[in-house]
Every structure is written in structure tokens, then in C-alpha cells.
Symmetry: C2
Subunit: 460 residues, 2 copies
């Protein structure tokens, strides 16, 4: 009844992909890709490590490339496009819907946008430019400008015959829009009304004269709420001033908004971005995460300074007591970043047993790089601001150790919890900070006990 | 052209609601509610403090109550239903779709479920029982069992005449399902195909014979991914074994799954639940959050124990140095919980200037209650396990102060950031932990400096 690959879930597909690449049976991958939709292919691309991505990309049919690119996150898309020349790009995008095309063009450098626009026929160019004119995060930026319209003074029978003449109808098709000769919006003709009306009835008599409309400047977040709360499948976008029909928004674009928005909250709270790639290159990822770690270091030193104000209360070893809190704090942030990426990846079905090892290596490298950077910084601050070079060395080595331990725990913990059927989003974060606290304190104090006298001898 | 209230956004509606209640003009609220969809009414109910909710609920028309209840989060729904008797409930739910009805029944106590089922007519009862039979989190639990079906051996003209005879068609309507006389699924007839085909063509010739189908046991998370990646509006649900058509899933139910799933990640990471009510009663909310705080206290003491192992390194005042870390740690958790609730509320448009004050009071009370509880616990542990009653008192008072400061910062910080046009999800968490760290350390060490000698005199 149904095609086998259709019914495979993402985990099975990823394993199949991995096996086929290992055994060199690329034709099997090509057969699978031919049976998948662009969104599904994009999902597979995002779930694959960079080396596999390149192989996968070569196997995708050129006519599908544009739609797959549209479905990818910004970071992955940009990386793949760097290897394409302008002609390839132009061919990839020529079959896109206007809203997707506009989205796509926005992610390109200005020079390429103008070249691409110049190569299009006039009607397409005007449509895309109209959408480009609106902010990406508004109803105008989301809408598709090619709508199906009829006049109010025709009969149902005429509409049905008009539709039969069209080769292809837009999807999803739940409303036909009714406009006058100046494109002024008059109402909607729901397809269900069209189907249940008698052939001789007039569109103007059966149409919905007061349908819900959205103005082009409505923020996309509000568009999403309206679609959710009113269970809409499509909605006309109207010019606020002259009531002209500008286009329509469909539920598939709104679903993307909802998903992006939700991911934005999760990722932002760990100082990450929803467009970040699961497998972004180590130097790029390390740099992005360093910003957050640096901010945290500043605030952790603020806490250390507060502790230092109470020297007489804590007596000696005050510098160590004050500075040691920095280590678990930094480990907690680094670990949470890895954990958040893992939890999102697991929720989206992007992280599986097949690619866990590549992820682990990537996260470990990022941890090592950031560990080195912040070890140097923390040593410098301890030596210069706190006049404690010996304690600075101890704290620096502990920092490196904890920033290596944090991503290890961040990758392994959610995988382990998932195996035990415990929700990683729920239990992961408290377990993770326990690990980074204990490892952090043990490292800083253990190193101090074992090596501090030695460093003190060196620094006098 | 369009109704005024239609185009108001949620913030304007909430302000209007608040003003109308203040001035006693309840008829204005009734007029507004009459023009809104159940999902929008539910949104307003969730965004209102408990006292306003009751007024609002009285003003909702009875025929809408069922659908509004379905759209509410579990916690709010249960609270409202406690004030309804069985007859009111039965009347509220009688017009629901089978999938919504099943969802709704699942949230009721067993006794009420049986009573409600017994009161339904046989066809409805069988349909609901069929859905109830599947797990809530699977395709079977999501599907609606009332589908529009035709046979393959009829012509397009016959289908069109059949549809005209039906009073109402299901929405969204993008596919008509083709089955044989035993309900075995044969394919789909997309409405767009129906509209573009000639009247004399046979359904069997123009139908999609290999459409995408979902089996009833597919987890809802996977259903959501498939809808997203294939841009589906509806999808048939098929029995794996006998290929019978069981029902269909529509995009509006999937959008709810996506939203719930995304909220689940955000909320779980702060030890909260996506069904939690923005205005849940203080005792309920305080108890739920206490679980997470207690877990964190355990792990914070683990860190304190690690520090305590290095007594010789830190010399004197070791107990204070070890125990003081508990205070900022607990403040961080409590503050993050408030912050997460605020960030979700702001993202969903539920938190506005109108209700910020009620939220502030609620969070402050929760903080005070949890502060008292954990102050006592931390004193007991310090006195008994660490033999330091004097330090225990200092730490306990600091705990109370920091658990009051944390929700204050958690409510005010995101509101302030939003006013400054800074994303609270991005900047909130690092700023919040800075505040709880600094307040926490300053409280514990300041109190120690000022009052420790005094406590030591008392406890000897």
C-alpha cells in the first residue's frame, strides 16, 4: 500500500544513510532521496556530520536543491552555498514560491541578490520585490503573493469551470479570494462553500463577507498566535490603507514560525541561536559560545569580589575561597550549552546513535579550546587583579579540566537518560550542574592541596 | 471591512478586559467574547488573574464552554471544572469533535468519564471510545474519526452532488478519502484534483493511489515532524494490520503538539511543566517548585561536602566557606523558575502591563514560602550534619533573603529588558544569576560579619 521509505522514521533513515556511505552504495541513498520531500531531505542533511553532508548534497537532484536550501537553518545553508556558483544558485531557486524565494534572497550577499533578480522574468521579479519590501518577521514577509482570485459577479459554475482550466491549484487550498477589478479585497469563498453551493449561485451571495484578515505589518509572532487560536489554514494579507489584497499566508509557513520561536527561547537561554547548526565547525561554535562564557566569567568575578570584601570573616585562604567559585560556575555554563544543543537535537530527532560519536568529538574540541582561552584569562586576572599568581595557576588548570568535563557530561548524560527513559530536558540540567560543581570544586581544591606550596615557592 | 475586535491584539484585548471589569461594564466584555473564537477566549482566560477568570467564565456562552475548555492548559481547565456540575460539563462537551472529546475525557476522573460516555448516543460513544483506546501521545490519540469518504467507482459529478447535499463539510478540507465497502483505505482524492477534473471522470482514475499515511501507533512527536517536513494539512490514519481507514489528523491538532513540545523543553529545563498555569495558586506552585529547589539543595550540599574535604587547604572558617555556596545556588534556581515562566508568558503574549502586578505578588509569595521552608532545612543540616548551628542561622536568614530577591529579579528583569528592547530569553538568565549570586554572597557574608559572634555566644 505505502512506499517503504515513506514509513521509515528519521532514526532508521539516518542509520540507512550511514551504512550506505560506509559500504559505498551511494545509489541506495539516491533512491531514498528521490522518494523524500525537500523538508525531509533538509532534516537528514542537518542531522549528518559535515563529511556526510557533502556526499548527500552531491546526490540531491538539482531541481530539489532550492527547496531543500529553503528548509535548512541559516548556518547550514550558508555553508553549503559557499561551494555553489551563481548559475547553480540561480537554477536551484527558480522554481521556488515567492515567499520562499524572498526568504532565500535575504540570506544572500547584496550583489548576488541583484544579479538573481535581474535574471528573473518581470512578473516574478515584481512579486519577489514586493515581498522583499516587507520585514522578514512580519505578515508581509511571510506571505505568498500568487493568490487565486475571482470576481463577486460570477456564478459557482463559472468558478468551477475556471478552476478546471487551471493546470495546478495552490496548496493548501481552503479559500479562494474575492476581489473587485481594482484588487480591493471583498471577501473569501471557502472551498467547502464552493463545493456545497448550487452551480447557479453568485459568488457575491455565498462568499464570507467579513473574514479574518491580517495586515502586512503584523509581527509574525502575532500571526502565529492568530493561526493557532483560530485554527486557520490560510489567511488573506491586506494593505491597511487601500484594502487591496496583497497575498496570503499559509499554515506551513506559520508552523516554521512557531518552531523557530520555540527553539529561540530554549537556545537563547543558553546563550545560543536557533539557527545554529548541530554540527557547526569547531572554531565557529567555540567563538560563539566563548561570548557567553566570557560574560559569565565577568559575573563570577563580581561574586568573587563580593566574597573578597569579607576578608576578616573568612580569615586566611580568602583568595582561594573567593576564586574557586569561578570554576563550577564556568563549567555549569559550558555544560548547559552542550546539554541544550543535545536536548534540541534529540527533540528534533537529529541526534541518534549514528552521529553521537561525531557530536562528542566536536563538543570535546570546543570545550578544550574554550578551556585554554579562559584558563589564560583567569590566570591573568588572578595574578594581576588579585595579586595571587600561585592560586591563579591552580584555578587555571582546574578551569581547563572542568571545561573539558562539562561537554563530556553534556553529551553523555542526555543520551544515558534517554536510554533509561528519563526525560533529558527535565533531569538533565540539575544532574549536569551537579557534575560540573563536584568536578570543579574537586579539581580546584585538590590541585591546591597537592601543588599550591610548589607554586608559592616559584612565585615567592 | 473587518470587525474592530478581530484586529485587536492580545495586549489591547487584555487591557480592554481589565478596564471593563474595573468600570463594571460587563456587557462590553460579553460583546467582545461573542466575536472571538474559542482558542482566543482560552488565551484571554489563561492571561487573566484568578478573580478575573471567574467573571470571564460566567460571561462565556454555554455552547462555547466545551471548546474553550479543550483549548486551556490542564491546570487552568481542572480549576474551572471543579466549579461545574456533571450536567453543565455534559452540555459543554456535547458538540466537540471526537479527538477533542477524547482529550477532554482523559483529563476527567474515571467516574465522570463513564457517566459522560453513558449519556452519549451510540455512534458518538463508539467513536470516542475508539480514540480513547489509543495513547494520548500517538497518532491514534490525535486523530478525528469522522472522515469524509467516497468509493472509487463513482464519478466526479456524483462526488460534487454528494458534497452539495451535505450541510457542513469538515475543516480543513484538503482531502476526501477513498475506501472500499469494507473501509479498506485505497487512496486520497485531493480537493484540488476534484476541482480540476472533468465531471465524468472516475474517482478511482484520478485519486492519489500512494499517498502518505500514518499508522495509529506513531508517536505524536513523529507525526509533528512529518507534518512539518512534508507541509501536510491533513493525513489519513491507517490500521497497520488490516489497512482500514481509522480517521485523519489535521494540522490544527499538530500545531498544538508542536507548541506543547517546544514549551516542554523550555519549562522542563527549569523543573517546570508546560501545562503549568501562569497564575496557578501560590500553594500549588510553591509545592511544585520546592521539588526542584530541594533537589538543588542536595546537590549544593554535595559541593559543600567536597569543599569540606579540603579543610587544611582553606584553614579556618571552612564551614562558612563551604556552606555559603548553597545560597547563590538556590537563588539561581528559584530565579530561573520565575524567569522561565515570565519568558514563556511574554512569548505567548500572556504577560502584559495589565497583569504584571498580580504576577509579581504571586511570585513574591511563592519565594517567601519556599524561603521559609529551605531556611529551616538548611539550618537543620548545618546544625546536625556540619555541627555549626551559628553558621546555620546565618545561612538560613541569607537563604530567606535570597529566595525573596530571586523572584523579584525574575519578574522585573524581563519586563525591564523588554522595555529596553533587549531579548529577555537571551540576556535574562546571565543577569539574573548575577543578581542572585551577588545578593546571596553579600547576604551570607554580611550577616556572618555582623551577627556571627553574637550567635556563637548563644550556641557556645
Amino acid at each position: 500500500m505505502t512506499n517503504n521509505i515513506h514509513q521509515q522514521n528519521y532514526e532508521q533513515r539516518l542509520a540507512f544513510l550511514h551504512d550506505s556511505i560506509e559500504s559505498g552504495e551511494l545509489f541506495r541513498i539516491q533512491r531514498m532521496l528521490n522518494s523524500l520531500r525537500p523538508g525531509e531531505i533538509a532534516h537528514l542533511v542537518e542531522s549528518s556530520p559535515p563529511e556526510q553532508r557533502k556526499i548527500l548534497w552531491e546526490l540531491i537532484e538539482q531541481e530539489n536543491e532550492g527547496e531543500v536550501l529553503v528548509e535548512l537553518g541559516d548556518e547550514v545553508r550558508t555553508a553549503l552555498m559557499e561551494d555553489m556558483d551563481v548559475n547553480e544558485l540561480k537554477e536551484a531557486v527558480q522554481n521556488l514560491e515567492t515567499d520562499d524565494m524572498a526568504d532565500f534572497l535575504r540570506s544572500l550577499p547584496n550583489k548576488v541578490i541583484h544579479k538573481t533578480l535581474a535574471s528573473m522574468d518581470q512578473q516574478d521579479r515584481e512579486r519577489v520585490q514586493e515581498v522583499l519590501h516587507y520585514d522578514e518577521d512580519t505578515a508581509g514577509g511571510l506571505m505568498d503573493t500568487s493568490t487565486l482570485t475571482v470576481r463577486p459577479d460570477v456564478t459557482v459554475d463559472v468558478v468551477l469551470r475556471y478552476l478546471r482550466k487551471l493546470k495546478e491549484l495552490p496548496t493548501p487550498l481552503d479559500n479562494i479570494y474575492v476581489v473587485d477589478k481594482n484588487d480591493i479585497f471583498l471577501g473569501t469563498l471557502p472551498v467547502s462553500t464552493l463545493l456545497t453551493s448550487q452551480p447557479e449561485e453568485l459568488v457575491g451571495d455565498i462568499m464570507n463577507k467579513n473574514p479574518f484578515t491580517i495586515s502586512a505589518s503584523t509581527p509574525s509572532q502575532e500571526v502565529a498566535m492568530v493561526f493557532e487560536d483560530r485554527d486557520l489554514v490560510s489567511c488573506p494579507v491586506i494593505d491597511e490603507k487601500d484594502h487591496k489584497l496583497l497575498g496570503c499566508i499559509t499554515i506551513d509557513d506559520v508552523v516554521d514560525v512557531i518552531r523557530d520561536e520555540a527553539e529561540h527561547s530554549v537556545m537563547s537561554m543558553a546563550g545560543l541561536n536557533e539557527e545554529d547548526d548541530l554540527f557547526s565547525p569547531v572554531p565557529v561554535a567555540a567563538k560563539k559560545r566563548a561570548v557567553w562564557l566570557g560574560t559569565n566569567l565577568l559575573t563570577a568575578f563580581l561574586a568573587a569580589w563580593v566574597i573578597g570584601q569579607f576578608e576578616s570573616t573568612l580569615n586566611s585562604a580568602i583568595a582561594l575561597a573567593a576564586l574557586m567559585g569561578v570554576i563550577p560556575s564556568m563549567g555549569g555554563i559550558a555544560g548547559s550549552q552542550t546539554l541544550t544543543i543535545m536536548i534540541r537535537g534529540l527533540a528534533l530527532g537529529q541526534v541518534t546513535n549514528t552521529n553521537a560519536r561525531s557530536l562528542f568529538t566536536k563538543e570535546l574540541l570546543i570545550g578544550f579550546l574554550n578551556g585554554l582561552v579562559w584558563a589564560i584569562v583567569v590566570f591573568a586576572i588572578s595574578a594581576i587583579a588579585f595579586h595571587e599568581p600561585s592560586i591563579g595557576i591552580v584555578v587555571a588548570i582546574a578551569m581547563l579540566l572542568n571545561l573539558i568535563a562539562a561537554p563530556i557530561a553534556g553529551v553523555l548524560l542526555p543520551l544515558l537518560l534517554k536510554k533509561l527513559n528519563i526525560d533529558p530536558a527535565l533531569a538533565g540540567s540539575v544532574l549536569l550542574t551537579t557534575i560540573t560543581d563536584v568536578v570543579g570544586y574537586a579539581a580546584v581544591l585538590g590541585l591546591a592541596a597537592l601543588t599550591l606550596p610548589y607554586w608559592q615557592k616559584i612565585f615567592g
